[in-house]
Amino acid sequence: MDKEKKPYLSAKGVTKSFGFGRQKTVAVDNINLDLYEGEVISIVGESGSGKTTLSKVLLGLINQTSGDVYFQGVKRDISSQARKREYWKNIQAIFQDPFSSYNIFNKIDSVLLDCINMRGGVYFPREKKTEMMIEACSFVNLKFEELTNKYPFELSGGQMQRLMIARIFLLQPKILLADEPTSMIDACSRATILDELMHLRKEVGMTIIFITHDIGLAYYVSDNVYIMEKGRFVESGAADDVILRPKEPYTQRLINDVPKIYEEWDLSTV
C-alpha cells in the first residue's frame, strides 16, 4: 500500500465508554485506525471485545466519548440528521442478522427502490429503475421476478443477506462495513456471500471493513488484519504476518483454538 496516500477513513484516539463511576465500561479504548482506498481490512475479536461498538462509532450510529473520525482527511460532521444522511451515502453496512435488517412492512421492491432514490441527484424513469433493480439482483444470483411482491420474511437467511449485497451494489458507497456478514448463515452459503462481496469489490472498487470473529474468514478476504482485545488493538499488520506468524499471546491463543484440518488441533491447551 502506498503510504504517501491520504487515508480514506481514519480514527484518531476513538474511545467509547458506557455508564459512570464504578459501572463504567470502556468498550472501545483509544483506537487508531487508518483505512486507505481500495483496501480490505478485518477487525477480529472474541465476543465482548468491542468490535461492534467500534463499527457503530465508525458508522456514526452512536457518538464516541472522545477522539475523532476523519473522512477523506476532513473531520466527520454528523451533528444533524441531514449531515448524517450525507455521510451515509459514503459508508454503508451489512449487519449480522439479516432477519432484523429489513423493515418487515416493506416489500422487497420498495427496499431496492429506496436505495435508488437515496442516491439522489439524478432522476431515473421508472423503466430504468426496474432495469437497475434487475441488474442488482442478477449480480447476486437472485431472480428479481421471484422477489417482487414478496416480504422479507418470505426469504431464507442466505437470500436476505444476498439482497443486502444487492442494496450495496445499487448504492455504491465508498466504504462498506460488514459486521459479521456470515455468522447467521451456514458454512456453505458463506462461500457464496464472500464470493459476491469480493466480486462487488472488483466491480465497484470499494473499500471494505470486515468485523468478524472468524479468523479463517479474515485471513481469506483481507489485506490487513487487526486483532482486538478488550477494546484495544493488540496486534495488526498484513494478513499473512498476523495469522501465520502471530506474536502476541492473545493472537496465538485465538488461532490455536480454531479447528484445523491440515495441522493437528491441540486440545490440551485449554
Binding site: E46, S47, N141, S156, G157, G158, Q159, I185, D186, A187, C188, S189, R190, A191, T192, L194, D195, H213, D214, I215, G216, L217, A218, Y219, Y220, A239, D240, I243, L244, R253, L254, I255, D257, V258, P259, K260, I261, Y262, E263, W265, L267, T269, V270
Partner: protein
C-alpha cells in the same frame, strides 16, 4: 466385533403442517454407530440434520410424526413406542440429546442442582437429595467443572460454562448414545474448544459409549468424529471416514461442501472457494429422481427419472449418485486441471 449401540434402518419421518401437508424431512435413513465410535452428520441448513437427531431418539411429538423404519438402541427396538414411554425409559438412560441452543433450556429461576435432581428423580425412585448432591459433585469434578456451579443460578454462569453444565446434566445417567446437535455454534472459539475437549473426555472416560455429532462446520467435525455422513434434502448422500470425506469426497454435493471450508492455515488464500449455486429443494414435494439434480454440475437426463440408490465404494464407503466413482474422479481431475 464391537457392540452396535445404535442401529437405524430405513427411518422416515415427516412434519405435518397446519394445512395438513407433509414435509418429508427424513427419508429412508439407515445408519449404525458402534461402541466407542462417533459419527458426524454434515449438511446445509434445512437439509434435515436436526430432524434426524430428533427422530433418532424415538421421541415424537407433533408436528413431527413417525412414518416407518426401525430404531434399535443397545439391542432394544424402540420404534413404535409411545412418546411418554420413550421419555420415561429411553431418554437420559439410553439416549441423551443436547439441542442447538441448549444453554437457553436452563430455567433462570432454579439452581443447577435442581435440574440434576429433576433428571435423577424422574428415573430413580428412592434417592435422597444428599445422595444426588454427592453424585453430581463427583461427576462435575471428573469433568473439570467447579462444583460451586451446582449452587448457582444459570445467569451467574458464562455461555461456555452453561453449555458444559447442560452436557454434564445430560450424561448424569450414563447414556449409551449422546446426540449433540450443534453444541458449540453459539460459542466463541475458546469455549468451543472446551466443549469439544469435554465431549472427547466423556467418550474416553466411558460416560457415554458413542456419540452422534451434528454441525455444518466441517473443520470442527473433522477433528471430533471418526466417520462423517453427508445429508442432503433428507437423504444420506455419502458416508465415509472423516479423513476420506474431507480430503477425497466422491459425491458432487460433498465435493461442493468440502470446497467451502475456511481455515486459518497456510495455502488458504490460493484456494478458490467453491460455492454450490441454488437452494435445497422443497421437501413438501421432493423431486423425483436424484434430489441434488437441480444444483449438480454433472446432471444427466436420467438423473431426474428414478430414485438413486446408495452405491458402495472401497473401504466401506457409500455414495448416492448415478455416475460411477471413477468417472466422477475423472471429472474432478479435469476441473482442477482447467483451474490450474
Amino acid at each position: 466385533m464391537a457392540n452396535t449401540m445404535l442401529e437405524v434402518k430405513d427411518l422416515s419421518t415427516k412434519y405435518v403442517t397446519r394445512f395438513n401437508e407433509g414435509v418429508y424431512a427424513v427419508d429412508r435413513v439407515s445408519l449404525k454407530v458402534e461402541e466407542g465410535k462417533s459419527l458426524g452428520i454434515a449438511g446445509e441448513s434445512g437439509c434435515g440434520k436436526s430432524t434426524l437427531a430428533l427422530s433418532l431418539m424415538g421421541y415424537y411429538f407433533p408436528p413431527l410424526h413417525y412414518m416407518n423404519g426401525d430404531i434399535t438402541i443397545n439391542g432394544n427396538n424402540i420404534s413404535g413406542l409411545k412418546a411418554e414411554d420413550v421419555r420415561k425409559t429411553i431418554l437420559g438412560k439410553e439416549v441423551a440429546y443436547i439441542p442447538q441452543a441448549a444453554m437457553n433450556a436452563l430455567n433462570p429461576t432454579r439452581k443447577i442442582i435442581h435440574f440434576i435432581e429433576d433428571v435423577i428423580l424422574e428415573h430413580e425412585m428412592y434417592v435422597t437429595k444428599k445422595d444426588i448432591y454427592g453424585r453430581a459433585k463427583k461427576l462435575f469434578e471428573t469433568l473439570g467443572l467447579p462444583p460451586e456451579v451446582l449452587q448457582k443460578y444459570p445467569v451467574e454462569l458464562s455461555g461456555g460454562m452453561k453449555q458444559r453444565t447442560v452436557i454434564a446434566i445430560s450424561v448424569m445417567l450414563l447414556p449409551k448414545v449422546l446426540i449433540a446437535d450443534e453444541p458449540s455454534s453459539a460459542l466463541d472459539v475458546t469455549s468451543q474448544k472446551m466443549v469439544i475437549k469435554m465431549l472427547k473426555h466423556l467418550m474416553e472416560a466411558g460416560f457415554i459409549s458413542s456419540m452422534i455429532f451434528i454441525t455444518h462446520e466441517l473443520p470442527l467435525l473433522y477433528n471430533v468424529v471418526d466417520d462423517i455422513m453427508v445429508m442432503y434434502a433428507g437423504q444420506i448422500v455419502e458416508k465415509g471416514s472423516s479423513h476420506e470425506m474431507v480430503f477425497d469426497p466422491i459425491h458432487p454435493y460433498s465435493k461442493g461442501l468440502m470446497g467451502s471450508i475456511i481455515v486459518p492455515e497456510k495455502g488458504l488464500r490460493d484456494v478458490k472457494l467453491t460455492a454450490i449455486p441454488g437452494v435445497p429443494p422443497n421437501l413438501k414435494k421432493p423431486p423425483a429422481g436424484c434430489r441434488f439434480a437441480e444444483r449438480c454440475r454433472f446432471v444427466r437426463p436420467e438423473c431426474r427419472v428414478t430414485d438413486v440408490a446408495m452405491r458402495e465404494a472401497e473401504h466401506g464407503r457409500m455414495y448416492r449418485c448415478i455416475i460411477p466413482e471413477a468417472e466422477l474422479r475423472e471429472a474432478y481431475a479435469r476441473e482442477e486441471h482447467k483451474n490450474g
